[in-house]
Amino acid sequence: MSGNVDELLRAWTDEGDEILPAYYLDAALRQVADTPQRSARWAAMRRYLPMSGLTRTVERPIARYGLLAAAAVAAVAVGIGIFYRPAPNVGDPPAPRAFTQTDVDRIVLGEADAPAGSAYARTDVGRSLLGPLWYLESGADLEDRGVVESRQPRALHALAGYVHARSNTFDGASRRDPRFVSTAVVFDDAESAAQAMTLHAEEYRTTWVIANPTPINLSLGDEGLLFSVPAADAEPDMEPAFFYLWRVNNLLLSVVAVEADDGEELEAMEAAVRTMALEMDRRAQRR
């Protein structure tokens, strides 16, 4: 062994340059020919149309760690459900009924619930609200939608049991004001909802680069998480954000707040999004 590690590494990494075999370039371009850009449905949406608060936020690196944690929490919750079954008792309350589409519309915050300084902007429905799988419209062909082949099984599983999704967005007076999004997605059963969280977590983990997450515990539903992108970690093109994600039985809920400036506005945004999450959870628990 000669030389130090620095010298060796530099010499080793400098060894020649490779040429990308034409096969891979051709394959990529063939794929690109059938792959839509996010421009129409994502970039424009994220800047001007307030739809898809969940998707808007999950592009933020912060969501990746958080949702991984969500997956872990989901696994624990499922484990408890399997192994801890108290003996039946005449006095036991009946099992909570599953949520339905009607419940979703009741739980998602409406016009009257707009946080201070913002106003109801729009409602969106449909499975496109389901996180990073935004391009999966109802009945969409996975291959035609440009989902990388290796991710197709995950995409299909993440949609398993999907019933209905609704999202209401609240915008401030200007683009620099915070934007809030209240979203609910109902699945056939709790297992499907938990599975969707897990698979989305995996999707985020493999798709987005990790930032510096700061998860904060808040008791919400059966399992809940809060993620935040502190101002100090926000990049020039990535504003501070707060993102709650939680599950109640077969319901997946989220509240997102983004784009506050630093300082007092940030604190107000954090308080507002917390209030929104608690209100949605209260509505969900009141069945």
Binding site: M1, S2, G3, V5, D6, L8, L9, R10, A11, W12, T13, D14, E15, G16, D17, E18, I19, L20, P21, Y23, Y24, L25, A27, A28, L29, Q31, V32, A33, T35, P36, Q37, R38, S39, W42, A43, A44, R46, E59, P61, G146, V148, S150, T206, T207, W208, V209, I210, A211, N212, D233, E235, P236, D237
Partner: protein, 182 residues
């Protein structure tokens, strides 16, 4: 980086993207090959990254950050490939002959040792090493590319080098022992 092509591709011009992909493909492949140490995996990762670049281009707000941004997507793709490879135990990857370049200042023994040491690193450690030593990125630039705090980059680099040094030392000790036994 070709700002003109990036700008046109951002607006959905597939021909411009084809030119852009041809312009950056070799560079991306070189980086991926150094991280993954396998031409097939590197080709797959590059292909995946190119498609992702196309998909995400409209979300890139500053064209002058294209290089760092595309390298981030490439590192993600490499991470995916490594993970996939490790999930497939039947896919045995031996040291490929094409990973070795004959015309080099490194001795065969050095290259072999560092190759083996590098393969023991995690995907994240490999990426940090390649970004610094191959692309000559500063710690701040690596932090920017990987969306990590500088402290995290520094620590990953530190552990990667320590791990490499340990692996190389172990190989050296083993070599000495074998020599003595022989």
């Amino acid at each position: 980086m070709e700002p003109y092509l990036v700008g046109r591709a951002q607006h959905g011009d597939r021909d411009a993207f084809a030119d852009l992909a041809a312009a950056i493909g070799d560079r991306l492949f070189s980086i991926a090959h150094r991280i993954l140490r396998d031409r097939e995996l590197a080709g797959d990762a590059t292909q995946q990254a190119l498609v992702k670049i196309w998909q995400e281009l409209p979300t890139l707000r500053r064209v002058d950050r294209f290089d760092a941004w595309s390298h981030r997507l490439l590192v993600n793709a490499c991470r995916d490939e490594l993970r996939r490879q490790r999930r497939t135990p039947s896919a045995l990857h031996l040291l490929p002959a094409d990973a070795v370049v004959a015309d080099s200042s490194l001795s065969m023994a050095d290259r072999d040792q560092i190759e083996r040491g590098f393969r023991r690193l995690s995907a994240d450690q490999r990426a940090v090493v390649i970004l610094q030593y191959y692309l000559d990125y500063s710690l701040a630039e690596i932090a920017d590319v990987l969306h990590l705090p500088i402290g995290t980059v520094r620590s990953r680099l530190h552990y990667a080098k320590r791990s490499l040094r340990a692996a190389l030392d172990a190989d050296r000790r083993l070599g000495l022992k074998e020599t003595q036994l022989g």
